[in-house]
């Protein structure tokens, strides 16, 4: 099976929430087959690196194998959060797509949903 490198967006979906200056971002694979690879590759360190420019200080990852899903809790990710951020998105609600877009993963093609726009691109890329 061909392995392709794709944005996390190709294999998972996500939702961001906030409490104060802390963000939580769930990462949920479209296909359960991808989960073990995501657990291996989407680490606390890589998620922290995505938020470095915002001053994030720590990431804690929780693995929920039965769903399956991961939950990332990112400390000081929101520049004070809705109380004091100068940005438009004090709640950090758009940040799920920052994680989905900036982190790439290497996965076999069958981890990508059959109808995914990425699958067509990935197949073309292999040729």
């Amino acid at each position: 099976m061909n392995v392709v490198e794709v944005p996390l967006h190709a294999v998972a979906h996500a939702r961001a929430g906030d409490k104060g200056n802390r963000s939580n971002i769930s990462v949920i694979p479209y296909r359960a087959e991808a989960f073990a690879l995501l657990v291996e590759q989407v680490t606390e360190e890589r998620v922290l690196a995505v938020f470095a420019h915002k001053g994030a200080t720590a990431v804690k990852r929780y693995v929920l194998a039965k769903l399956p899903a991961m939950n990332f809790v990112i400390d000081n990710a929101l520049e004070g959060g809705v109380n004091s951020s100068l940005g438009l998105d004090g709640h950090g609600k758009a940040l799920s797509f920052l994680v989905l877009g900036d982190i790439t993963v290497k996965v076999p093609l069958d981890c990508i949903p059959v109808n995914s726009p990425y699958l067509k691109n990935a197949v073309n890329g292999e040729r």
Partner: protein
Amino acid sequence: MSKVYIGCGAGFAGDRFDAAVPIVKALAEVKGERFLIYEVLAERTLAIAQRLRRENPDQGYSPFLDLYLPLVLADCHRHGIRIVTNMGAANPLGAARRVHALALELGIRGLKVAAVTGDDLLGSMSEAEIRREQIIEGIPLDHRSIVAANAYLGAGPVAGALATGAHVVLVGRTTDAALSLGPLMHVHGWKAGDLDLLAQGTVCGHLLECGAQVSGAYFPDPGFKDVPDLDRIGFPIAEVDADGSLVITKPPGTGGLVSRATVIEQLLYEVHDPNNYLTPDVVLDIGEVEVEETGTNRVGVKGARGKPPPATLKATVCVDAGWLGEGEISYAGPNALARAELAASVVRARCRAIGIGDPVRVEVLGTEAIFDGNSGGRHPSGVQNTGGEYRVRAAVRSPQRKVAQQVSDEVLSLYCSGPAGGAGVRQHISPQVSTVSILIDRARVKAQVAVVEKS
């Protein structure tokens, strides 16, 4: 054995006003105990409500009450669907009186309305006492002026209010989940020690509390996660048995989608440690929860575990936080990005020149600036695509309104003093409230239920 049906008509103040109409129609056709909940009380909303109440003691309940309830009150009463909502805000008793007045206007007879009070700490503690409590989130209160301080009540008082036979229950600050768990405790007779049942009920409340976020909204990503008919999305209905069995669904004939994926996204929404989600009723553990599609737009959720609740309650203290000043201007067409970046550099230089002391954020929207930090972006400089449409935005927070206005005005002045083609300036100066979370002893908080007679 009686099944409980709970529909959620709003997940925040400003959610679609008519969303509950299809829920009421669906609930009218099933047998069992039926409830309609509305969650409209964000942390800051309460501060605004508290200010309104100080100006007029009859006010301070949610101004949205008059937008949501007239659409459903008569049908709910006719079909025996009971309403539970935090539209009480800073004045649950005032809200209850308003519901009576509304019933009179609508020709509804015999409506019984209950209010839950006791969350308002300014009524039971001095400001000095509040300032001494342990802060778990937010910066020290110092001498900032306290606008509101409310403890999060649990589901017990909501169940107590339903036990009076009230058709409508108005609360102020409770956990959002309590709006659902209260009815479940009331009907199914769940007690404080039934930890796994309380956990399932809390999951139910958590899934419902953001309205359509569990039934296909805040979810669509075209080509990847498609959802039909968002414009007439069905808000959620939970079906809960006495043994805690839980199914999430939505009214027939509505748009939206209830699937494993929509439910899992909402299950983890605003959850931090999934094994220890603290509420006044139970410490929820969703680590072993299973989510299963049992039919079209029907998803079963099971396996929540409960542990005894903490000895303390969380409370939110709202304080004055000065002013936010914002200004925006657009640039479009050839070389738009360069013109926008020039405008941004002009605003930065002007803010320095006029001596703005507070940090100012100046950004170019259209470059994924929403992901950037206040002190800089994640993108390397030098964007290839220079045409298109970009919007320059400046923002400042200051204790002084004047500073907020000055920074905003530096964007306005770009009209005649900035780069070519600047257009569409919008300015916004707004007072700010900031929140701090504290922990307080349960003994300090005495929830009370009042049946409010006609006004």
